[in-house]
């Protein structure tokens, strides 16, 4: 298995006629397990659009996505919902925890979705909470947590199903530089230790110190790779 996720010649257009906008043009990328991959670019360049396509939420106009060696947009239609809960993890700009669930329950939820419940689920959740240093907050509801704590619980949630790929859209944007950097270091550590491919969208250059690959998007095209 070479790549955790691959995108080939992705393009995406919205609207028709005069309102037609080409948001992505021929974007290709490939990320190996354990790699930390950054997507950069100015506002409106198509970063979020690319991420929603990789996250199997938006269908590309052309091109294909290969997730864990499964070719997605290739005629037949796999159960995207199922692929998401088994192979993908999401980290959002705002933690977007489920407000009526405690930190622990927020982590138990994706486990339950893949059929892991009871003792095993609880010990995995506890382990993750410890790993992200929020174990003492396990039974708090999100509104009782600080921004950084919420983001760490959200990362724990994204890790719970042991995904092949984690997609993170500006996970540091709502945090100060210090906390932002610590989240980036955490992602770095995760990709190293858990062999997860992690794609991070950011437009903050300070955040890309420890990444393996960077692409720069502009007007939907990759203009620079590094």
């Amino acid at each position: 298995m070479e790549y955790a996720i691959e995108a080939q010649y992705l393009s995406k257009t919205y609207g028709e006629g005069r309102t037609r906008v080409e948001v992505l043009k021929d974007v290709s990328l490939a990320v190996r397990p354990g790699e930390l991959f950054a997507i950069m670019g100015p506002s409106g360049s198509g970063k979020t659009t690319l991420l929603t396509i990789l996250g199997l939420v938006t269908e590309p106009t052309h091109g294909r996505v290969i997730l864990d060696e499964e070719n997605i947009y290739n005629g037949r239609r796999p159960d995207l919902q199922c692929l998401r809960r088994e192979k993908l993890g999401f980290i959002f700009q705002l933690a977007n925890l489920i407000p009526f669930l405690t930190a622990r329950e927020n982590i138990l939820l994706p486990l339950e979705l893949i059929g892991i419940t009871g003792k095993e689920a609880r010990s995995r959740a506890t382990e993750l909470l410890k790993y992200l240093e929020v174990a003492d907050r396990a039974d708090h509801h999100p509104e009782q947590l600080s921004g950084g704590e919420k983001q760490r619980v959200a990362i724990a949630r994204a890790l719970a199903n042991e995904p092949k790929v984690i997609l993170a859209d500006e996970p540091t944007a709502s945090l100060d530089t210090e906390r932002g950097l610590s989240v980036m270091r955490l992602l770095r550590k995760l990709s190293n230790e858990k062999r997860t491919a992690i794609l991070v969208v950011t437009h903050d250059t300070r955040m890309i110190t420890e990444v393996d690959q960077v692409i720069h998007l502009q007007d939907g095209r990759i203009v620079d790779t590094g």
């Binding site: 970063k47 979020t48 991420l51 929603t52 996250g55 939420v57 938006t58 919902q81 199922c82 692929l83 998401r84 809960r85 088994e86 993908l88 999401f90 959002f92 700009q93 705002l94 977007n96 489920i98 407000p99 009526f100 669930l101 329950e105 138990l108 939820l109 994706p110 339950e112 979705l113 509801h141 949630r157 859209d169 500006e170 944007a173 969208v201």
Partner: protein
Amino acid sequence: MNLAFKDIRYNRLKFFGSTLGVGLLLMVMLTIGGIIRGIILDSATIIEETGANLWVVEKGTLGPFVEISRIPQDYYHAIQALEGVAEASPLVMAWEHITRPMIPTPLMKFMYMNTVLGTKTMVEPGWLDMPMDQRFVVIGYKPGHIGGPPIIISGRGIEASRYEIVADVKTGLHVGERLRLGNFDYTVVGLTRNMVGFNADPVIYASLNDAQDILFQRDPDLLRNERVRVESRVLGAATGAPRLAAPLSERARSLAENVRFLNAVAVKLQPGASPGEVADAITRWKHLEVYSAARQVNLQLMGSNRLILLQLSVFRLILLVISGVIIGFIIYTLTLDKIKEIAVLKLLGMQNWRIYRMILEQALLMGVLGTLIGALLEFAMEPYFPRRVEATWGDVVQMLAAIIIVATLASLLAIRRAMKVDARMVLGT
């Protein structure tokens, strides 16, 4: 992990607040239904409880519940003798009133205040100090025959042949109380329940003779005048035939005094007797009209009470639509409030049916709890209404079915919208 219950527990104020709102709306719906049923029962109870198959009244009239009907008293013996008749009970029933000092209740004041705002000139000043006329229906029956009070809730039934009455509790009378009706004093010996005329005037039961005295016996002075007047006219007419003068004057006097007529005869048939044949026999032979019990009820529902029933039904229909829309909106917005969480759950890969279930569980729980709250409040309030209000568990079940449909539709519409939401809403900017 049941997400619906976790959500409710976390947002209990919002959920139970909305549920209470739904419950109050349903309470109003159930109440208006209960008011309509109350009017129908008020029209039907006396007829139903009498248990007669046929009601015999004066030819060309609609019967004692709707208009005045007079038939000579001795007719009932003849009807009794007909084949197929088990019992022919002579009945009188008509309105009577007593004048009491006004004791204005807060409700009464509230009603007048509201009236005064719109129709000032129609309300006399000082209404609070005026005496109050209390109306009721007097029913006279022969104790031991049908047509008497069906149940005694306190005291006893009429036993002495004269000057005893049984009153409906809504008259406000008490056992042992004495009151003057017509020219005599009567003692309340017992109370009954739910026996009111179609205008909700409560019933007073008396023996046939007493009731005839109360309802038809006029003031003794008036009667004396009347007798003299009739007599002198008859005598004047008889000047040409002096031999006739004495018997004519005798006849005239008895005419003026005669109070021995009935308003109706309630007929109970023998088992197996044909109501049609007996009715034919009665109408063929006497100047009478015969109605079935159901027809007597219907004459009120589709006659004197038709418009008020239709009026309330229109109001009920309006309420139904409004409540449906409001409850629908409450549930719809409650679901849309969760649109962000739904988007996150979708990204986490939660199966659609689980998302649908979570929303539907909440909507249905709200519907069921709301119905229960509405029903309990309605039942608790019923006794405080001035007239009979009677909602049934059947109404509640109907309401529940309607609310389940509304709740399901509203939440399905909301989820459909929520499911279409762009992942961009939560994923990033």
